[in-house]
Amino acid sequence: MSELPHAPASRGVDSAGVVIAIALAAIAAVLVWDANQLQSNNPYGMGPHVMPVVIAIGLGILAIGNLVEALRGNLPARESADAKAVWLILGGLALLIVIIGLGGGFIPATTALFVATATAFGRRAILADLAIGLVLTTLIYLAFSRLLTLSLPAGPLERLL
């Protein structure tokens, strides 16, 4: 809620905030660039390029607003973060995408994500987690394909089932 007492913020340039502002400006630029490539042969009414431009203008203003906040150091305080754990989960997601992309199937892909996430949360028993992940994802695979008749991507492992 907004009633929380505003701590006398550390008055200094917040570089992360500056990056956010630049990213917003970049999105705005992409919107305008893309809108310029559209044909607008709509004599009456509004073509498809109007809304992107309007949104881009809004994003541009917000980029300035975020920049001002960042320069004043008005961003909320942040706690230290465990970057290694975050990267572990992202690595698990990347592995999942690669396995699905190469046709490795649902069960190995999601098992990889399961093990990576459990490890990121502090587990140090990769073999046990591998077994748990395999059982869990096999059950999900069977439930989706048999009960809900939704097809999940099948690789060599799924074809055995």
């Binding site: 907004s2 905030g17 956010i20 917003l24 919107l31 893309d34 809108a35 559209l38 044909q39 709509n42 009456y44 009414g45 509004m46 073509g47 498809p48 809304m51 992107p52 949104i55 809004g58 994003l59 917000l62 607003g65 975020n66 906040e69 961003l75 942040r78 706690e79 973060a81 465990d82 754990a85 975050v86 572990l88 989960i89 992202l90 698990g92 997601l93 999942l96 995408i97 699905i100 992309g101 649902f106 999601t110 399961f114 093990v115 996430t117 459990a118 990121a120 949360f121 502090g122 587990r123 987690d129 992940g133 869990l136 994802t137 989706f144 809900l148 008749t149 939704l150 999940l152 991507p153």
Partner: protein
Amino acid sequence: MDAFVALANGMAVAVQPMNLLYALIGVLLGTAVGVLPGIGPALTVALLLPVTYKLDPGGSLIMFAGIYYGGMYGGSTTAILINTPGESASMATALEGNKMAKAGRGGPALATAAIGSFVAGTIATIGLAFLAPWLVDFAVNFGPEDYFALMCVAFVTVSATFGSSPIRGLTSLFIGLSLGLVGIDKLTGQARLAFGIPELLDGVEVTTLAVGLFAIGEALYVVSRRHHGEEKLEPVRGSLWMTREDWQRSWKPWLRGTVFGFPIGALPAGGAEIPTFLSYSTEKRLAKHPEEFGKGAIEGVAGPEAANNASAAGTLVPLLTLGLPTSATAAMMLAGFQQYGLNPGPLLFAERPELVWGLIASLFIANVMLLVLNLPLVGLWVKLLAIPQPWLYAGILVFATTGTIAAKPSVVELSMLAGFGVMGFLMRRFDFPIAPVVIGLILGPIAESQLRRAMSISLGDPMALLQSPMSATLLAIALIALVAPFVMQGLGRFKANED
């Protein structure tokens, strides 16, 4: 007494055995997923959307009603027993409820939350049933410019007016609006922001965005601050039942919470956060023992829980009658309708009354089921809470990605899911609100098509927006709601400088 007849017809649909079964499955799934820490009702609905793909629209919407209410119920259980509210609307519940659980009064806290939710949900659903036909009659005369103006009001109120920072809220909204542009423009058939990638021509899936932002973003955020310590699960000790005194102290807060929750939920006023906190502070002021607040006062659970549920039913009023989602959960419900090509609004009431009224009637049924089933089953839900954190989040991520893999098993879609997860993590870390992104994505394209319809009727004259008294008024409201927080902030700073 149109509403009575319509509701009775809806009831006839809802009590068909198959539909009762759907409602039951919805309630159980909703509670089971909603009870997992960090999973609010919006994510519960998003995660369970794929499960309903193969059902017919009627059964699926009825299951949704159960998932929605079940997710809310599960969320309050988590708030009470481990003090991790899945969403800001459960914060007040966590405040007192967790203290009660620590003092060995977890049972009565769960009971007053459940019965309060039932009372509030029932009254608010009656309110919905009577308000909806009236609003539909009113909305039938809306032109496209009026709809556009109404959506502008919703955009501003959900992002700027009630959040902690209007700039960060509007930033979230505009990111959502930008994502909404992606895909083929329906009027001219041209691709926008697709960058030659065929998967992007269909646009960004709301479920992919919501699951990425809520599930993956939350998991990344929790793991990033794992070393800051974990909340402990409080066992439910002692009796589940409320004493005579508990009842006496609970029934008035239930009713007051309903009175706060329903109207504020029905207005586009930024969800359940405001009514729950209004209810909390009111109960604190009216309580006979205000000193108990902060140490586990039952009024502080009863009131906000009722307000939360009443406002959840309230948000269904603009959603069903106008197609206007005003919370992340309502946005997910809208996505559920869209999955069948249904657009909520006056037309749906006229064309598919059995669907809309069947849904409203099943809200009553879901409410009864939750009350009857969940108090005895609470031990089972608590077991779900006891799953160790590594397996819990690993399981959540597996289930979250399964939904996307089932819907669109492509590298592009999964990369977007991961990308939205990173975005959700960064937004949490830098305190940007998440709901406006989801609402921007789902409502942006609708607002654009209404605006373009209005413009082609007026032959491109933008003054048409101001010539309809309704849209002129709504746009003025939107402008005031946009400027007000900045003015207030300026005043606040001015005052702070004076002090």
